[in-house]
Amino acid sequence: MKTLTRRETLKSLLLAPLAGGVIASTGCIASSNSAAEITWSSLPKSYSYGRTEAEKLRDQKLFSETYFREHELLTIAVLCDIILPSDHPNGGALDAGLPEFVEFMVKDRERYKLPIRGGIAWLDNRAIDRFGADFINVTESQRLSLCDEIAYPDVKDAELQAGISFFSFMRNLTLTGYYTTAEGFKDLGYKGNTPNIWDGVPESVLQKHNVAYEAEWLEKCVDQSRRDIIAQWDDEMNLIS
């Protein structure tokens, strides 16, 4: 089998149809079978959440910038899809718009730029060395083989350390990007961020963990049935209302 040189690979990539990977509508089914056809959900391009004028201006500027080349964005998409695939009822990284989230974070944090650009280049070089093409242009099983060697921090092989750091970083970004979406909340089963009246750990949970509230402690705690009665104290600092 002929081994492609780095230059030839780039040339063939340029000729290959990188079909519309960057633009896709919400709900598209992602596929990691063919990198050239990968699609993902789009994220909003404007936000409103209590920003100052200076903050609004900065975010607008970030949205107007492009950092990644198309090849880099596709590589990020393929990696995110491997890390958290979409073949799951709660969706995966691509349904959560991960490539666009990574792009935004990289523009927001200058220090992220080099590790990701360099990491992608490292991964491509490794793929060329082992399989004769860039990461996104080798077969799915070859891609998984490349990930297997850098997905575990306990691997001590010196020549893999840069790849291991990069993969860990991509795993962090993928998981944080997914779990901070509605799909991620659902996957986790998160309950919170809503007005409520906290009145202690549920009894069933206390029993499961073999812990209990001490009566003396509970006496110091709020009686939620009286929370709306205006506080009054006697001269001895005792709450009497």
Partner: protein
């Protein structure tokens, strides 16, 4: 056009300035409140960050330079502000936090509201270090009592000798990880009591709401159920019509006349860069310890050639911050837990006040312990090192694919953390001063810091590390990371990082050894007062805010009284 003459000009709208504004305006005085930042009200939907989901932010709550505690944190400010540099002397690494908004850094603090105790005002009597305050707990107690009732603080009366009781609202019940901590502390014979924090677990008036337990005080409360100076003090004061609020107004200096008394302040209007002045009978500085020192040092005149209040070379000296160190643990028994809403109030529901006698220890001052953990809302950083605890349960760290979902759920809410906050010993040599060569974007000379921790703080940090390790293990935890040793000063935070700077304009009876008298009144100019933490002689192992407000109220009463007597 004739300039309006104010009775009072107050510089800074945080804890000290807010309280002085509220008291002096209610006393019928005409007040100008001057704030370097913009107007802010979390009840306005345009400024609200509370109860938003992480995906409403493109960075999912990640920190930025303008919001170092996260994109949803309400406090606009930081250690690194555009156009407002500060410098360091030698190898000093001081971190200077500034808030730039109405309410100042009360938009940021953890609402931990601890009274200083009787011992905290007289430390020199106990260990011979530093100085005593010119006042004692009995002088401040009536004001602590009034602050409790006006502002609201939950807690419990425990009868502790140096952590005084108060007029408390009832405490929230502990969360699950806090019950683990309570059990651990009991095993180690270390006390643990309900936290003392300024959130309304019960109604205190008809203007402010009652806590609905979203755990997001750091985002500022849209129903005003947590304390910030703006929500609890400035808005009510503005309603009375006695207060003119100047925002985006950066005070350059206090203007004095030939007799050395203040006649007003000059400030830069940040909206247009213009220099403007306000005239007033009395100037009250509440810009925060270091900013107030900077304004005084920049207020040079023939009568005050080293800066206002600085005839004794004390302005900027004795600067000190709280010490800090933190550690966390993985609690295997909290793996695979049932998921329910335990947001509670923001931060801890339980804490450990200082419990030992330094007489028996090799360092002079104490610290308290703050407890963290629970099933918080995912935000930027959630899922980082997703399955790092696998190493403790015999499974491999790393990997990819849907197994990561199980790892995330398995370890969610299984961490317990402790943060220590302690008292340092004030030093003459630890200071901020004007840098002779550097100015900010408005041409105002900036501060230069000169600060070193001493062995007192480093030895205290060593003790903190031993305590945290013991308590985390007693709570059923596997302590994470390596224990910092002498080469890392035992994990001691950098000065300024805890954001409790105090001492730069300390109070005292001897004008040669202090900047103000016990009422925050400058020895060198009787119509200039300081009501921020600059007047603190020592910091205590407590957070400073409650004491700032008690002393500001005390000073306000004194000002009204002195004006009535026509002494000022």
């Amino acid at each position: 056009m004739a300039q309006e003459q104010y009775d009072i000009i107050i510089v800074g709208s945080g804890a000290g300035g807010g309280m002085a504004t509220y008291q002096l305006a209610n006393a019928g005085l005409k007040v100008a409140l001057v704030e370097a930042g913009d107007y802010y009200d979390p009840a306005s939907d345009e400024q609200r960050t509370q109860l938003r989901n992480p995906w409403e932010s493109p960075r999912r709550g990640a920190s930025t330079r303008r919001r170092p505690f996260g994109d949803y944190n309400s406090c606009i400010g930081g250690w690194d502000l555009d156009g407002e540099p500060y410098t360091q002397k030698g190898d000093t690494d001081f971190r200077w936090w500034r808030a730039r908004m109405l309410g100042g850094r009360t938009n940021h603090w953890g609402r931990i509201a601890l009274r200083f105790g009787p011992l905290d005002f007289k430390r020199k009597d106990i260990d011979g270090l530093g100085d005593n305050w010119p006042i004692g707990y009995e002088d401040v107690k009536p004001y602590y009592d009034k602050v409790d009732k006006l502002i609201g603080v939950f807690g419990s009366n425990e009868g502790l000798p140096n952590d005084p009781d108060g007029f408390f609202l009832p405490a929230p019940k502990p969360r699950l990880h806090e019950l683990y901590y309570i059990n651990g502390a009991r095993k180690s014979n270390i006390p643990v009591i309900p936290a003392r924090k300024s959130m309304l677990t019960k109604r205190i008036n008809n203007d402010r709401g009652v806590c609905y337990y979203c755990g997001q005080c750091s985002r500022a409360c849209s129903i005003h159920a947590d304390f910030s100076s703006s929500t609890a003090l400035v808005y009510p004061a503005l309603k009375g019509g006695q207060v003119d609020l100047y925002t985006d107004a950066m005070v350059r200096e206090v203007i004095t006349d030939d007799t050395g008394r203040a006649t007003g302040v000059s400030y830069v209007n940040k909206k247009n860069g213009q220099e403007q002045q306000l005239q007033g009978r009395i100037v009250v500085l509440a810009a925060s310890a270091c900013s107030t020192a900077r304004i005084l040092l920049n207020s040079k005149s023939d009568r005050h050639e080293n800066g206002l209040g600085n005839s004794g070379d004390h302005v900027g000296r004795y600067l000190h911050d709280s010490t800090g160190a933190g550690r966390s643990a993985f609690i295997p028994e909290l793996m695979d837990r049932d998921i329910y809403n335990e947001d509670g109030v923001s931060g801890m529901h339980v804490y450990t006040p200082w419990w030992l006698d330094n007489k028996n220890l090799d360092f002079p001052r104490g610290y308290h312990l703050e407890i963290g953990g629970g099933m918080g809302m995912p935000s930027y950083g959630f899922g980082f090192s997703a399955n790092q605890y696998n190493e403790f349960i015999g499974e491999r760290v790393g990997g990819y694919g849907n197994q990561l979902r199980d790892d995330i759920r398995r370890f969610y809410g299984s961490r317990l953390s402790i943060d220590c906050r302690g008292e340092s010993v004030p030093q003459w040599g630890n200071r901020c001063e004007l840098d002779p060569t550097v100015v900010d974007e408005w041409g105002i000379p900036v501060l230069r810091f000169d600060y070193k921790w001493t062995d007192y703080e480093i030895d205290q940090a060593r003790h903190m590390q031993d305590t945290m390790e013991e308590l985390l293990e007693a709570s059923g935890g596997i302590v994470l990371g390596s224990k910092p040793g002498a080469d890392r000063d035992y994990g001691l935070t950098k000065p300024g990082e805890i954001i409790h700077e105090v001492g730069t304009t300390r109070m005292g009876t001897d004008a040669a050894k202090s900047v103000t008298n016990e009422f925050g009144q400058l020895h060198d100019a009787d119509n200039v007062f300081v009501v921020d933490a600059g007047t603190f002689v020592s910091q205590a192992d407590k957070n400073p805010t409650w004491t700032i407000m008690a002393l500001s109220w005390r000073t306000s009463d004194y000002i009204v009284d002195q004006m009535k007597q026509q002494n000022i």
